[in-house]
Symmetry: C2
Subunit: 338 residues, 2 copies
Amino acid sequence: MPSNQQILLDNRPTGDAVASNFKLTSSQTPTLKDSEVLVRHHFLSLDPYMRGRMNDSKGYTAPQALGEVMIGGTVGEVVESRSPKFAVGDKVVGMGGWQHYSVANAEQLGALRKVDTTYVPLSHYLGAVGMPGVTAYYGLVKIIDAKAGQTVAVSAATGAVGSAFAALAKARGCRVVGIAGGPDKCKYAIDELGFDACIDYKLHDNAGSLSKAIKAECLNGIDGYFENVGGMVLDAVLPLMNAFGRIALCGMIAGYNGKPVPMTYPALILMSRLKIQGFIVSEHMEVWPEALKELGLLVGSGKLKPRESVAQGLAAAPEAFLGLLKGKNFGKQIVKLI
Amino acid sequence: MPSNQQILLDNRPTGDAVASNFKLTSSQTPTLKDSEVLVRHHFLSLDPYMRGRMNDSKGYTAPQALGEVMIGGTVGEVVESRSPKFAVGDKVVGMGGWQHYSVANAEQLGALRKVDTTYVPLSHYLGAVGMPGVTAYYGLVKIIDAKAGQTVAVSAATGAVGSAFAALAKARGCRVVGIAGGPDKCKYAIDELGFDACIDYKLHDNAGSLSKAIKAECLNGIDGYFENVGGMVLDAVLPLMNAFGRIALCGMIAGYNGKPVPMTYPALILMSRLKIQGFIVSEHMEVWPEALKELGLLVGSGKLKPRESVAQGLAAAPEAFLGLLKGKNFGKQIVKLI
């Protein structure tokens, strides 16, 4: 039984999340029962949704329990198996949490999925060819329903969701405009991710000013918008939406700390006859196969070149996560555990 | 050529609309050309959307032109015809505007529609069996997609849209909860319109208090909401929406005066995975036949008993309209012209 290091949620944030909300502990991995599999994690995924789970309030799902291992997506290798479905050495993706090892029941549908690392590096199954990629797919294809020639926009453009969104939208013949923080990210969005334009929101201190800058790159208005951020960025985009525009609402980072961030002019939803839809991709498992297939081909063929921010070692996870919430990551934030 | 009295938009409101924005004039009705029809109006419809048209700003459609007859739905009788499609004496519904007579081109699709007054009184074609009724139908059936056993709610419950909404929702086996202003309207909603409950928003001076009162009548939450008002009422309903709830956004009276009325907690759209959709029913002509058929049957069979607020004479239209914007009407606001 190998020794396991784990990060627990020790106490809930009041306001901003802080490092002392987390606690590093260690334990022995348990002896496997029939049909169980022991996975050694190579990479842990850090994602904004985790902040929502840290609150003890109504949200997508149940809050993260106190004193338990923080939830999180993981990729790794099977090191012990009591299931005929998985062999030692298999590369797998699952929800192993913030720890070095996890035990999964192979009989539980969707708990563990074998992946092929021939053309797609293992860590990308946490990003472009994983939950964030499918999130971009669902928003673009199922909510925005983007058509060739339309203009679509996305905030947090260089993140895991934003970069997959751009590749998927370009493949459909759309004009894709990003919104990101800082000149480096904006340059990267255009040079490496295929965005037609990218606006640096940090150059603007109010929605009106930001809106003008976005408008200059969206001369035909915006038909579809994928919202990862909320707040000022949403206020800036709303007046630019064309009649019958669609907004996929996936992230409201600005609201996670419990302070409500209002939408300044909701009457625009009516005036422009918009559809705004919130979603969480784990509730739409039916789209995962088609989405992962397209995303795998985009990565394998080099049309989607996802960037990663890699933190080293489990102990670095809390600081990396807090940085993610402040937009300090550049690309998909992961933690390398091996 | 009979003499025609007309009300024009004389100047645009700054802030609240006032009576002096309008101007009463008279003119001769023109000589008819081929395929034209002269209609004498019996009733003029007053509706909240007219306030939006009075502004010179982006909205549903082009603003109401200054110095022109105010736009509005009318029912009346053909008094002269140069079209084989209409005979003198036909009862018709159209968009005749704020005047006693209008000329319609019978060849223009949808300009004039013959109606049958055997079971449905003429004026109801401006309300329950007209644009407001179809508006309720579109929101309930096409956006909310209400199912038996679900709870649906509507603001401005005793208005033309709200009362049609209740009858259509009861016919589908829903629990229907209304929100209205004052004890008389709430009693009427329950006693005459078939609402299961009705909450008096005037008893509450903040969204939290109103929300608690609505919650007490929606113990299983709210699956579908039809918004005619916006502002505090929308803020009160949003936290009560069930996961995957649908909101049809049809009216934002509170925002028409140009002052933005924020949505306090838009993060709820994401947390509860809601769909919010703005619409204007004249852009969905394909649903009118099925909607009018069901609404006509509901009125003819007495299951929908629409109430009307009747102002007497064209000169009374501006004050009646301003009262409508303040919720002074009780039921569908019309003006009797004959």
